[in-house]
C-alpha cells in the first residue's frame, strides 16, 4: 500500500490536556491539488483529504464541466472513470461520487457533488466517459437520482415492475422474513 500522504492535523482528543489553539488550516500542496485547481479554473472546488486520494467537492451544476476539464487537461488527463456511485447522507442530501484515474500519469481523484433532498437531478456524465452509462443507471434506480440527458434511462439491476422504492436509501427497510408459502409473489405451491 502506498502511504506517501501524511495524515492531516486532526484533533484527536486523546493524549492529555493541551492548550486550546486552533489547528493550522490544512494544506494540500503535497497532493495534486494545485494542478487540479488550475484545471478547474472557473469552478468553485473545495478540496478535502480522503484516506488515500484527494477529494474535490464541486457544486452540482458545474460537475460535468469540471469533469470534462479534468479529462482534457494535459497534465492530468483523467480518461478512466473507475466508479460512479452515490451516498445517502440523510438530511444533508445525496452525494454523487466519481472516482477518476489517469492512465498516462497514474493519478487518482475523487469528485463529489451534493444534491439537495428536494431536487435530486444532475447532468449525465455519459458525454465524458461512456463508462458512466450503466453506472448512472444503477445509481438512478438505487437512490432515485435523475441523470438529465442520459441516453438510456432504464432500470439495470432491479426488476422493471418494482421501481417505486429505492433500496439503497437509508429510510428503505429490510424485508421481513416470510413464514407462509406464497407470500412473496402471490403464487402458491401446486396442490395447495
Amino acid at each position: 500500500m502506498t502511504t506517501d500522504e501524511t495524515q492531516p492535523a486532526r484533533a484527536t482528543g486523546r493524549g492529555g490536556a493541551q492548550p486550546a489553539s486552533p489547528p493550522p488550516p490544512p494544506s494540500f500542496d503535497d497532493t495534486i491539488w494545485p494542478v487540479v485547481d488550475r484545471a478547474l479554473a472557473g469552478v468553485t472546488a473545495t478540496p478535502e483529504r480522503g484516506s488515500l486520494d484527494l477529494i474535490v467537492h464541486v457544486p452540482r451544476d458545474e460537475v460535468v464541466a469540471a469533469l470534462r476539464a479534468l479529462k482534457r487537461h494535459a497534465d492530468l488527463g483523467f480518461d478512466y472513470l473507475r466508479s460512479l456511485t452515490a451516498v445517502d447522507n440523510e438530511d444533508e442530501g445525496i452525494d454523487v461520487v466519481y472516482h477518476l484515474y489517469s492512465t498516462a500519469k497514474r493519478l487518482n481523484l475523487t469528485v463529489k457533488a451534493t444534491l439537495p433532498n428536494n431536487d435530486l437531478r444532475i447532468e449525465t456524465a455519459t458525454g465524458v466517459w461512456r463508462a458512466a452509462n450503466w453506472l448512472e443507471r444503477e445509481t438512478a434506480e438505487m437512490f432515485g437520482v435523475t441523470f438529465a440527458g442520459h441516453p438510456d434511462p432504464r432500470t439495470l439491476l432491479l426488476p422493471e415492475d418494482m421501481t417505486d422504492t429505492f433500496p439503497l436509501r437509508k429510510d428503505h427497510p429490510l424485508a421481513e422474513i416470510e413464514v407462509l408459502q406464497g407470500e412473496g409473489m402471490g403464487y402458491t405451491a401446486e396442490g395447495q
Binding site: 406464497g182 403464487y187 405451491a189
Partner: protein, 210 residues
C-alpha cells in the same frame, strides 16, 4: 438261392409271435392330471410354501410389479436441467466432474427443460428471475422433481432480508428435496440425489406428479 418277396410272404411263421408285453401297472401319476401310462414329462418338483414355483421351472425369469420397474428405471437415469444460478452452481459443476462423479448414478446434465427430469435450483432466486423459474418448471414434462440446493433456494439464505430476493424457491414451485449448506458440499448433493432416488422408489406413482 435268392429269397424273393413271394417266398417271404408264403413262408409260414416259424416262430410264434412274441407275446405282447404285459400292460404296465397303473401308478398314481406324479403330476395330477397326467395320464397314467405317459412317460413323465416333467421332473417332480417339491412344493415349498412361500416360494414361487415358477423360479424352479423357468429359471432366468424375474417377475416384478410394473411400477417397480418404472420407478427403478426412472431413478437410475435422472437427467437434471442445468439451472445453476449463483455460487452453488460451482459446487454443482464440481459434483458432475471427475472427482465426485455423478455420471455413475446415471445423472447427466441436460440444458433443455423439455427433456430433463430434475431441476436443481442452485442459487438465489430473485423476484426478477422468479417468473422464468416458474416457466421453466412448467416446461418440464412429468414426472419431474425439484431439488432446492443451498440455503438461498431453501429460504433466501444470507440474502433473505433484501426485499428483491424471493425467500425460497418453494414459493413458486413445489420442491422435493432441500439441501442445506452455503454452498453444500458435493457429498451433500449426492446425498440429496440418493434421497430422491429413495423417494422415487417408495412413491412409485405410475403417472408421475399429478
Amino acid at each position: 438261392m435268392a429269397v424273393t418277396p413271394a417266398d417271404v410272404t408264403t413262408q409260414p411263421a416259424t416262430e410264434p409271435r412274441p407275446a405282447a408285453p404285459p400292460a404296465p401297472e397303473p401308478t398314481t401319476p406324479a403330476v395330477p392330471g397326467e395320464h397314467p401310462n405317459e412317460a413323465p414329462r416333467l421332473t417332480p418338483v417339491e412344493v415349498v410354501p412361500g416360494r414361487a414355483l415358477y423360479k424352479e421351472v423357468l429359471p432366468g425369469v424375474l417377475q416384478v410389479p410394473a411400477d417397480l420397474l418404472l420407478a427403478a428405471s426412472r431413478k437410475s437415469s435422472l437427467w437434471p436441467m442445468t439451472f445453476g444460478l449463483a455460487c452453488c452452481a460451482i459446487e454443482m459443476i464440481a459434483t458432475y466432474m471427475s472427482h465426485y462423479d455423478l455420471d455413475r448414478f446415471g445423472i447427466v446434465p441436460w440444458p433443455s427443460p423439455r427433456q430433463s427430469d430434475v431441476m436443481i435450483v442452485a442459487g438465489t432466486v430473485t423476484k426478477k428471475m422468479a417468473p422464468a423459474v416458474k416457466l421453466l418448471y412448467e416446461q418440464m414434462p412429468n414426472p419431474k422433481w425439484v431439488i432446492s440446493m443451498g440455503a438461498c433456494a431453501t429460504n433466501g439464505g444470507p440474502y433473505t432480508r433484501y426485499d428483491r430476493v424471493l425467500q425460497g424457491v418453494d414459493k413458486v414451485i413445489p420442491v422435493d428435496v432441500y439441501v442445506p449448506g452455503c454452498p453444500p458440499r458435493p457429498e451433500a448433493l449426492m446425498d440429496a440425489f440418493l434421497a430422491l432416488q429413495g423417494m422415487i422408489m417408495e412413491e412409485r406413482k405410475a403417472q408421475g406428479r399429478a
